[in-house]
Symmetry: C2
Amino acid sequence: MTNASPAPKSRGKTSGTGNDPFAAIADPTRRALLDMLLEGEQPVAALVDRVDVTFGAVSQHLKILREAGLVERRAAGRQRIYSARAARLAEVDAWVAQYRRFWSEKLDTLGDYLDETS
Amino acid sequence: MTNASPAPKSRGKTSGTGNDPFAAIADPTRRALLDMLLEGEQPVAALVDRVDVTFGAVSQHLKILREAGLVERRAAGRQRIYSARAARLAEVDAWVAQYRRFWSEKLDTLGDYLDETS
DNA sequence: CTTATATTTTAGGTATTACTAAAATGTCAA
DNA sequence: TTGACATTTTAGTAATACCTAAAATATAAG
């Protein structure tokens, strides 16, 4: 027997980019946006010219981040001011935390990683 | 003016699922596989019957995880034994760490780290 | 050599993603 | 009102992701 089909596979609820923080931070542009907001709240236009995609694209990314609970929006005149709302990243952090003991039984500086050690 | 095109946009190097740990852990099945490997190294077949996709799909996921440096493979007879290689998650951890102060100025029981540096 | 086992790879399909350009919405100001 | 500004939404497209079934590879055993 070659393969055992595990079910008809409805392909229906993959949760998607919206609302899942892991999916939300998978995109490098979205991480860049979050990083910018880490410096403080900003209107969309301020983010746009640091990011090399169109205004529309940034707006769409912000929507995804907002649906994931990672940013907040506030109205100010005709602007929309966005700010980071990192609480939702706690879910990601909790997951990664399980693995911490694997790479650092000794937790050094916490500032340098990226190695191979093999 | 409606939009300012930021460049022809070659759509070429989005890094993709392979080799980018953020993209690698975006998929829930892959996170599940990593979680299983956290219990200890395992041959592919052992993972397959806890995951509800075909053998082929699991093999593909493991390939992506391997390309991202998140798992290791070892041969044992005709089996391939996989094990978690969490070091690469340090990159994710480092990124998330920037945000920790946002949701916990007091860092309770989470993973318990000395983030500091600010 | 032949067959069974364990896994990987390929081919093909469908869904989702990320992007752009343009249209739509909402707000401010003359 | 009219027009400019700030942002969002829509429509359409190309690339990517994930999945299955089946073929291919590799090792072990009779």
